[in-house]
Symmetry: C2
Subunit: 405 residues, 2 copies
Amino acid sequence: MNDSRPIRAKSGTNHEGTSAHNRRVMIDALRINGALSRADLARATRLTKQTVSNIIEELERDGLVSSQEAVRGGRGQPSTPYRLVPEGAFAIGLQIDRHVTRAVAVDLVGSVLVRDEAGLPPGGPSNGTKVILDLVAGIRSKLAGIVQQSEKRLVGLGAAMPGPFGVAGSGDDPWMMEAWQKFPLLETLTAGTGLDVGLQNDAAAAATAERMVGAAHGIDHAVCLFVGYGIGAGLILNGELYRGTNGNAGEIGMALLFADGKSTPLEHRASLASLYQHLSIDPADPGLYARINDLALRGDQSIHAWVEAAAVDLRWSIHLLETLFDPQTVILCGSAPEALVNRLIAAIGPLLPSIAERRGRTLPRLQPGMADPWSVALGAAAGPISRAFDPRFAAILKDSFNSEA
Amino acid sequence: MNDSRPIRAKSGTNHEGTSAHNRRVMIDALRINGALSRADLARATRLTKQTVSNIIEELERDGLVSSQEAVRGGRGQPSTPYRLVPEGAFAIGLQIDRHVTRAVAVDLVGSVLVRDEAGLPPGGPSNGTKVILDLVAGIRSKLAGIVQQSEKRLVGLGAAMPGPFGVAGSGDDPWMMEAWQKFPLLETLTAGTGLDVGLQNDAAAAATAERMVGAAHGIDHAVCLFVGYGIGAGLILNGELYRGTNGNAGEIGMALLFADGKSTPLEHRASLASLYQHLSIDPADPGLYARINDLALRGDQSIHAWVEAAAVDLRWSIHLLETLFDPQTVILCGSAPEALVNRLIAAIGPLLPSIAERRGRTLPRLQPGMADPWSVALGAAAGPISRAFDPRFAAILKDSFNSEA
DNA sequence: AGTAATAAGTCAAGACACTTGACTTAATGA
DNA sequence: TCATTAAGTCAAGTGTCTTGACTTATTACT
């Protein structure tokens, strides 16, 4: 049967898949629960003590976990807890935004070890690529200066930039970053760094960050509403980031709102860009964050109108996200001045009624997440860490043992 | 470490999980591609010929696949294609709607073998439970009359009813089915039938049906916009139905729309219920479908205004679903008269611009799905079939080999 | 025709990773 | 002091996939 019609099927799996999954499950358990003994791990993962012992031994040899002092709790032999070794792996995260690019190096537990930023000249990739590659190279060499074997333990480079990706161009919308979105960034970064490179939109990166070290830590269903230069939602569904067909899932900023007979994307109404426009501020100004933060802290009147208007849209966005995704919680985060995000959160409440209103909730419907200009770069770096170490369906399948898909 | 704090971790896996996954992958491949030879399966699943041979042999013994006549295509030994055996497994599907309950028996490939319906008396579960259990019992005995061993091969009972589930009650909204939604339906059905029982909302069931035998067949990312008595979206994400935290994901009917200074749920504007209200029709009328279908076919003026208004809301809903889920396609389906759905589709076009507008699309942005009063019951039945036979992450994990979670 | 090439499928041994059950170690509590 | 409890190890066992050689059956070429 050498038909030319392609046959579509999921991959099968084998021992390697089993083993890879079980390793990931151990790491995940330690990440979520903190240090655990082998016996704890065996109970939690439903594997046998022996299997856990073997895997832990291997992980320890690989420098990913290490034992702590034995704890004497009750009867029986004291248990030896194991914890993740932060220096077990590193990843570089890269944020490409309209006027600035930021890079960080993080370790296995999501601590930022090195950070640096650079202004991004106008003109898109032709002018910006070198700036970015230099920034990444700088981060890598600084990382090598503080930790041993950083290069050997570098699992990849995660990039994040505003979406959407690959859509039929709407001309030359200054809100967008079309030149970058059309540019073969993955290939360029791969060639320029020799690393495994991943790409996600900025809201997805923010969600990835919240999942590794923030409010979504250990939560299986969460939506991160991300306010930055644009606005988007990062989706954690079934414990994994959901990307959609083309990596554009969650691009709520592109949702059209109808009012006064005309339609406007949400992004034009509630986003830092809209605030800059409202305040007639040049978004390329490097002191922008401090200035906005200051205005927000002082409760400045010039910001008030925007906050109130944006809060209406955000309140509705949260209602909609709850309705469509049925998450455990919604997290409001941003690559935005913290004081501004705090004012938004205050202005948003009380929330609209939704299916999220139910008895027995343990998590609040809306929680604040990171509001930090570095959170997107952190999330970008968390991407490769997650791909390499988190338990997921794709990692069990036979075609993915070696390749980062 | 006998701490009382619960430890959260994913399950590990072992050989059984591997084997279970590979069996499912074979079945899935045959479902998507039709009959395939062992060599085809080996290539598609990346398993070895030997492994495939062993698994196919086992599936054949279990009566799930059977060989067809050898095909001579090119050089080499002729291949023997294997196909799914429809009689390999059965499931019962049950739809509970406002005024009617329907049940079907389907086989492994999703063919409906038996169907029956009954009026559902007012008063909720106290009056309706017996009707439903009798209906299911009737379907089972009829199924047993047509096929051998139907009881032995019955993998479960899937129930579908309008959501949302478990939300803090909004009083006694006649649009809802609160009494049923609060009722311990799963437990009652389990006790009353002795089967494994699953429950999903009607839009999810419709999506499950589209996935098994309809427009979403073999598609990994699809959103089914479902128009029935209410309106909802069934989400196929990463090849699986997405349920959300409480089985309420996709409940777009609960989304509030703001117009003229007041908010209205989408469901009150675009749904059969709203049409019934518009036409002042009693929704309990058994001849309803035929009547509406007739009106729609005749292009009746009384329906026109509703269709045009609903199309505006649906057009926007599709835009929103595309924006948030980034699916390969949106499928408009319904437990509604076919002529009505056709008129809606005609009235919806052209679609609003969205991120789904991209070069190189292979699937249309919007496709018609099933518009059939039985599609929800069919989808309900497809649930247990899918749980038992489709490849999915949960099926690999150690705690799920025997239990239908 | 006869033969080489090609591809499907089988056989039997091997490898790998988890499981089993007995055992060792090291605490607590009566 | 010693029974009890629990962590963790040891060594053999088991299930499932892999490997590589082999058989079978057909087409294509000379």
